[in-house]
Symmetry: C3
Subunit: 494 residues, 3 copies
């Protein structure tokens, strides 16, 4: 997702006794950061998560056991989060290797995860599900990334996989909804064309959404897959789509027939359906991929899928649709997005995320019914619309803090950013109070002074005008004093 | 509607010989204003309408008859407009009583009326129509308001009923379009859920619309009711909706069969249909409710409904639909919104309002046909879209003045605001002319002076730079003069 | 299209020996320019195209042949581009004649051409196609322009035909899609109503699009024609529309039956379909109209139409639809818009225009299928949406330069504007380098000087604050020096 990547500062002391790989990674870690954010300057003071904990832990340990633990934590810090050390190391590698890194990150970015290892695990899950789909997904990610390079998009955003995630979805879902069967090689043609259009649509949507500091989510994918499906349709010679029709009669729902086991597997299946996969094992693998990068994300994905399943039951949806995970995948994404990704995670935000998941399930049912009129699936429109609504929502409480898009990373780091900001604000408030007291004291002192008139005028100005002009006035004042001093010395000399 | 409420200044002399109620109201009237507008600081100079007239009238009266008249006017001032005196008095009452006030204002805000008495009359009309619907409407308004409180939305906006009006529509229309029959108690569940979602959607839409200083109108209601209806649909076990299908054959229209009496009753029915009511008496009651608060609003509502009816005939709509008020309700709202509510009422604006009503009728037919494809009613989408279009419209004439959203109250007060602004502008223009003349005279005087060069430079600067910097430069100039004076006196002393 | 017109400076020396018409035109040419742009001040330094070339050429020629050539070029300069000399001359004519000029320009503005001669040729083509349609188109343009005058829209925009082009499309297409047959005079009624609504919708959309510096394209036409068609529909007594239904079976496509000759005529037919015309000769006439004003536009129109035809074949569209030009017209407009009209034409932009045409064809198929569900044609929605997407697209390369909307004219002039801007930038860069060197030298000189402290402080300020404040500081500095000089001389005098 745009704005999900940023650079970070470098731990100063990483010990030198680790493995060669670790060393190489560490050196990369200390190399100059080039990765530029998509939309703003990242806070350079924001520091790494696991790695710092590890470093801090390390200095305290003495026994062997503790050492091993520290080593484990450090190793963990290299593979969790957004794997920045790895990203730094990658920058000095062969271009094709870099491209692979970007593609893997792109695959994981569908779930807001900027982590190549997660991407690798996700591809494993896809291969388990269907090799033809996995191939299409890979082609889609690859060409979307290449197209972004050709179109000279922000290098940092490309490296974070932000131009790939729509590509993988386009590739996958075009294969999933194609009625021509697997291994219909001609499909790669529209797949490549549509993937390469992704960065254009992404960039255009970002021009609009950035006005409200909103990400584009999977809107480019939704637009392009719907475009392809409705442009060709079920009755097409070259690229026929599966037949989707609106419901025209009462579904046969007998509560006695409900299969509780299947309802439970609907939770991982719902996570799998984000990538169009109905295999519960694939969904489970995706959960592992999420957990590697961010446990909070994984937890919210599970909650979202469960909320979707419950909503389906509440709205009397056919059981088959629920088992198939169709009620889950949008809620998964919406719950991740609101629950810690774009808002700093507090209890209120957690509740908001669950509300958003329920809203998303409702919206999902609505959009699925509307889209079926045109022979289209719901794609992830419900997620996009509900998440955008909940991100546009404003409130007067300060426990619901929307992160600036440029500072969005992963829930754990977002939290740290939020806490730092709070601490900084508190300090500033305190400082300001002290300053004000000092100012008042100084003012008192100056009263009765012959410079009173001048100063009063300046005060007046200060209240009326902005900070910048204030600074200048102070400079002017100093200049004036210097000038007066000069002149008076001159006058004295005479 | 957002931005429809604002605080106002307090008549200084309200005589003390009125009834206890009047006194209590008057004291409330003088209490500190807390009501904060949704989007900006209201003009504190804007003064009350009827009450001031009354106060002014009063000072002149001597005979008993005149006194009675003044008393009547003052009493009228307490129940017409937005009943601010009452709102002030309410602030010191028990919370549940306040909540009731907000709910009643919410009920009336559907028609842009911020008046609890109107709200009470409207509820009476609803009860006359159908008690189950009235109950649903009440529940909707109540929970929407409570949800806004929980979500910590602007207190002033809540107190003006701006979070309730979508709630009442959601509650009412969900009951109207439910196929499960009256008193199907389960319906209250989605009713409460949807009402409580209203403030979230309202807030999100306001984030977008505020960029163009536009209100959200009834968009949250439209979105949420359509959401509920299409998510469940006609074929649903829990919450079935009435069956709405697109027209597929020529309507049977015989002009000889037109019932003129029914066409005339279509005007109040059209007003009633704003709340989904087809009883002409209910419509009549609603007209009374409008008249209490603002006669201009009432007049435009009637005009709008008539325009809708005429458009229906012009576009060959089935007579039944016209009699049923389906062509009227959107035009009612559009005509009120443009005719004096968001624009200051002039003759040109009046014509614009009628144009907007025609456009709205056309759009209504179009949207009804499109929505029927999905089994949905038109709701008030036509009103929202046509009113937003006409509010986005810009022209070079100054007789069409769009009020800043924060200054929108009710047509009579808006007019007064507009007149004051005009007068102020005129005064400023005159003052400016005088100033310019003075400036020129002063300049003339200074020519030939040894300070000429300096001054010229400053002029240059003045033309190039903004106002703020100008102010500063004048201060600098003064400082300079002080400094020069100081130095020269020093020099002289030497 | 909004922002497509602008004023320009006046060649100083136009020789006096030409025909009376030429003289009159020339005098008009030198008259004061009043034409105000829709959105910004046009660059007054931008000079004419052909006329200047002609003037330059002229000064060098001596032989009769060269003279004739120069005369031809000058004459060409009067009829090509946006015929500004003629527009200036028109300003002093009778109002009805001016109105005719605006209507003709409006007719041509559909293709982004601001040229009354092109408009005349286009009307000729329309008459060749169908007189009733041509009449409706004329009525539409006329009333849209009149409505814009009544609604006090920008005079410059009206004079450039920017309020007429939606009108002609509304008029034409309402006639084309009417099921009541030709010469059904009642149709003029909704035609006039809808045309007169055009400026309102245009203005409203411009309020939104101007936030992203985007034109409104033909969106008002799309909205209003769809509005009219879906509001009345096929089953209407007064204004029945042609029956459009979604595809429900496999089209019969036999590649052996493809008619290559018809495929080639599909290119001009595609251009004709912009105005709803299926006559290839009409299309050819339109190409002439484009060529008169701007050869680049004409070339891109042809390329666009060809791209549309190829896309149709690639997506297995029924041959009849391709022959009928339905795949071409949107691509024609999209290719013109991107290829040199809103972007300065470079090779990269040319490729982008072709990409946009392909995207537009795809989108066209999609939108046609979606709209057919409501019995609607695709209109030019695909063009609008694809062109807006490609105009919102941003990239880091500087070979893709989007012109500010206020500077958009026609591709040839846009290119000149772009080149001038580049040259200016280059000069500025060079100047800046020289300045910096000088500054450094000056600074060096000042080091060791007693003013060092002051100057350093100012430097500091300069880096921190904006340009404007810089200017002021320099002035202050000068004032200070003058003041110091004054004082020191005073001191010396003592």
């Amino acid at each position: 997702m745009p704005g999900l990547h940023r650079t970070k500062d470098i731990p100063k002391n990483i010990s030198s006794f680790y493995s060669a790989l670790t060393q190489e990674l560490a050196s990369a870690f200390q190399s100059k950061k080039e990765q530029q954010p998509l939309m703003a300057n990242p806070d350079p003071e924001m520091s790494g998560g696991w790695e710092q904990k590890a470093a801090q832990g390390e200095s305290a340990v003495h026994t062997c056991q503790q050492k091993a633990k520290a080593r484990l934590l450090l190793l963990l810090s290299y593979i969790s989060g957004d794997m920045e050390v790895f990203a730094e190391w990658m920058k000095k590698q062969f271009f094709l290797l870099q491209l692979l890194d970007w593609v893997l990150r792109g695959a994981a970015q569908v779930m807001f995860v900027n982590n190549p290892l997660s991407g690798l695990v996700i591809f494993a899950g896809l291969i388990l599900q269907n090799r033809w789909w996995a191939l299409n997904g890979f082609v889609g990610t690859l060409f979307a990334t290449i197209s972004a390079l050709i179109l000279q998009q922000s290098r940092g955003a490309i490296a974070a996989g932000l131009y790939g995630y729509n590509g993988i979805l386009v590739g996958l879902l075009m294969a999933v909804f194609s009625n021509a069967g697997d291994w219909y090689w001609w499909l790669l043609l529209p797949n490549i064309v549509m993937s390469m259009t992704c960065p254009i649509v992404s960039s255009a949507l970002a021009s609009i959404n950035s006005r409200w500091d909103l990400p584009v989510f999977t809107l480019p994918f939704n637009i392009l897959v719907c475009l392809h499906m409705v442009a060709t349709g079920h009755y097409n010679h070259h690229f026929p789509q599966v037949l989707i029709q609106p419901r025209t009669e009462l579904a046969n729902i007998t509560w006695a027939e409900v299969n509780v086991a299947k309802l439970f597997t609907a939770v991982p299946v719902g996570i799998g359906q984000v990538y169009g996969c109905d295999n519960p094992w694939t969904g489970g693998i995706f959960m592992v991929a999420l957990f590697i990068s961010s446990p909070i994300t994984c937890a919210h994905a599970t909650i979202g899928s469960a909320v979707g399943m419950i909503s389906g039951l509440a709205l009397a949806a056919p059981f088959e649709a629920i088992y198939f995970g169709l009620w889950g995948y949008n809620c998964v994404l919406a719950c991740i997005a609101i629950g810690g990704m774009f808002y700093a995670l507090t209890w209120q935000v957690h509740l908001l995320a669950i509300t958003c998941a329920f809203f998303c399930a409702y919206l999902g049912s609505a959009i699925a019914n509307v889209m079926s009129t045109f022979g289209l699936p719901a794609c992830t429109w419900p997620f996009c619309l509900s998440a955008l609504t909940f991100l546009l929502f404003t409130t007067e409480t300060n426990t619901i803090f929307k992160l600036p898009l440029a500072n969005v990373a992963y829930p754990e780091r977002n939290l740290r950013f939020f806490w730092k900001l709070r601490k900084k604000e508190k300090l500033e408030r305190e400082e300001k109070e002290i300053d004000e007291e000092k100012w008042r004291a100084k003012e008192q002192e100056l009263l009765g002074n012959d410079k009173e008139v001048l100063r009063m005028e300046r005060m007046d100005g200060k209240e009326k005008e902005g900070k910048e002009i204030n600074k200048m006035m102070i400079q002017e004042e100093e200049m004036m004093e210097v000038a007066l001093g000069e002149v008076s010395s001159m006058a004295e000399n005479v």
